[in-house]
């Protein structure tokens, strides 16, 4: 199998231009972020921040600075409200499992939206093994939460509501403030968690404005290093640890703090927030150019998710009819354009993106969907290159399809 990958990589030789649009699934870490991280591997602050020696105190100082900065960007009151975790999956697991275990005497019901990311959806479902129940609130055709059904779903047994601030596949910006209001009006004891991994650095997001109790953020989604994320937990809210070990600077996540990654995440955050308006304007401009270009070159497309102000500026999700997504991602890879698809052609029982199905897309529309996310590091030339090769790729795949499956 590894030999096959070597051959696959050889097929990419001679690519003249590469454009990475799969920022949903990983990202290119810019050199300025890498440079900021490097000293912390072996030059300074390489110690354990809870130990009484110079490298330890150095680590303590730099980590506290990072806590401070991330608190500021999130709008947290105090830095103790932030817990660094090894990624957003861990932060979402901590948020859901930790809340449920800590609140289990109060009730056993979790309410989420039906388009939550997998690392919320599956953790919530897993809690059923511990006697909790999960209610999924539907969304409309653009992915907006049905607030009436949210209100109806919340009862006196409900202890936790979790709704992502921005849907990772559709870019739909939820009205979290209203959802929190609905939840707290029904029961002020309810905890409200939001996965803010696609909001942080892309839309104005402030935990105090929104009045959420917990919020998850992730480093790679703002072009920081992978393997680091954070959970915001409002002061005074009780949460159980979900893993045990030596406690360091953070009560909720044991183990030795990952200083270089924390610094990298903080540096990426600084770069995202220093010129926030400029950055998001550029993302949105490039995204619109990409989407408009694709729609002008091709027919039989569906635009997935909302348009305009209610959509995150980086997100483009298009269903390309009569072209299967996996074939398209491979075809485009051979031309140096990297993106992902909501197709699920990797299993015998083929289940495409649950998000696209939830907004009423037919399965064949989901199989042909492509997800692209722009960043401030992309250029006009990059977009022009995508607009040159993507229609060619779609047209070749559609020639193979021919009249198959055409009704």
């Amino acid at each position: 199998m590894v030999e096959n990958v070597k051959d696959l990589l050889k097929l990419h030789e001679g690519i003249t231009h590469q454009v990475y649009l799969d920022n949903e699934n990983s990202s290119i870490v810019p050199q300025e972020v890498v440079d900021a991280m490097l000293p912390y591997f072996n030059k300074i602050a390489y110690g354990n921040p809870t130990l009484t020696h110079k490298p330890g105190w150095e680590a303590f100082e730099v980590i506290m600075n990072c806590f401070q900065k991330i608190s500021k960007y999130l709008g947290a009151k105090i830095l103790e409200e932030i817990t660094f975790t090894p990624g957003e999956s861990e932060a979402n697991n901590l948020a859901i499992m930790g809340s449920c275990f800590a609140q289990k005497e109060k009730g056993k019901k979790i309410v989420i939206s039906e388009i939550e990311p997998i690392n919320v959806l599956q953790v919530a479902e897993m809690m059923q093994k511990f006697g909790f129940t999960v209610t999924k609130v539907p969304v409309d055709r653009d992915g907006f939460l049905n607030m009436e059904k949210l209100q109806a779903a919340i009862d006196k047994e409900t202890i936790l509501v979790s709704v992502a601030a921005v849907n990772n596949e559709l870019g739909t910006i939820q009205n979290i403030k209203e959802a929190v209001q609905i939840a707290k009006d029904k029961n002020s004891q309810i905890l409200f968690h939001t996965d803010a991994t696609d909001a942080y650095g892309r839309i104005p997001f402030n935990v105090q404005d929104l009045n959420v109790d917990l919020a998850t953020i992730s480093s790679y989604k703002i072009q920081g290093p992978r393997g680091i994320g954070a959970l915001y937990l409002r002061e005074g809210v009780n949460l159980d640890r979900i893993i045990e070990g030596q406690i360091g600077t953070q009560r909720l996540w044991p183990g030795i703090e990952n200083t270089p990654s924390i610094v990298g995440f903080t540096k990426a955050s600084e770069l995202a927030f220093e010129n926030f308006e400029v950055n998001i304007t550029k993302m949105g401009y490039l995204r619109d150019k990409l989407v408009d270009g694709i729609f002008s070159e091709l027919t039989d497309l569906r635009f997935n998710g909302p348009k305009g102000e209610k959509r995150s500026p980086d997100n483009a999700n298009i269903s390309i009819l009569r072209a299967e997504g996996e074939a398209l991602t491979i075809e485009l890879s051979l031309k140096g354009v990297y993106l992902s698809s909501g197709s699920a052609c990797s299993r015998r029982l083929l289940q495409p993106s649950h998000v696209l199905v939830a907004i009423g897309r037919r399965f064949e529309e989901a199989h042909g969907s492509v997800l692209m996310k722009t960043t401030r590091y992309l250029t006009e030339e990059d977009i022009a290159y995508v607009l040159k090769v993507l229609p060619e790729a779609v047209n070749r795949i559609r020639r193979i399809v021919g009249s198959t499956g055409v009704e």
Partner: protein
């Protein structure tokens, strides 16, 4: 989202990039379709059969699906050219197709199964159309034909689960 790494071998990639015997055949003796777009794979086979010798003179395909679906469909058209229908029926199985293509990731075995299902359906249709089933053809569907039917049944279930058009789609 598809998450399982798919290290396709060079033969699969070659047939994906340059599929052999691609396209609609205007003078096909028999046409058969298997699969459903809702499941993400669907194949059409066009066979030109010599009515006297029952030899497959020409085979072409069109397909909607992943790289493995395209490559397995293409290789089937190459494998059966010049064979009699009986020899085709006896020798072509999904395992044989997978072997011929140099192996597939296990999650892609169903692509070979669907391709052979479509082929056997085409042969069965040829004899059904003529009202004469040969003795060598089993009455009961083969494994591959059953799998194709199962996938098509699944597609119906999937389509039913999709919310009403008027409520959701723009």
């Amino acid at each position: 989202m598809s998450r399982i790494p798919l290290p396709y071998n060079p033969k699969v990639m070659d047939l994906f990039r340059n599929p052999k015997n691609l396209g609609k055949m205007e003078d096909a003796t028999v046409i058969a379709v298997a699969g459903n777009p809702a499941c993400g794979d669907m194949i059409t086979f066009y066979l030109k059969i010599n009515e006297q010798t029952q030899i497959i003179e020409k085979a072409q395909f069109e397909s909607y699906g992943c790289a493995a679906n395209i490559a397995t469909s293409s290789i089937v058209t190459e494998m059966i050219k010049g064979l009699t229908l009986e020899a085709t029926w006896d020798s072509i199985t999904w395992q044989k197709v997978t072997e011929e293509i140099g192996g597939l990731p296990s999650v892609k075995f169903h692509c070979g199964v669907l391709a052979v299902g479509a082929l056997k359906r085409a042969i069965r249709k040829y004899f059904d159309d003529r009202g004469s089933e040969p003795a060598w053809m089993p009455k009961e569907n083969t494994f591959e034909e059953k799998q194709a039917l199962e996938e098509e049944e699944l597609a119906k279930t999937l389509s039913k689960r999709v919310k009403p058009e008027e409520e959701k789609s723009p």
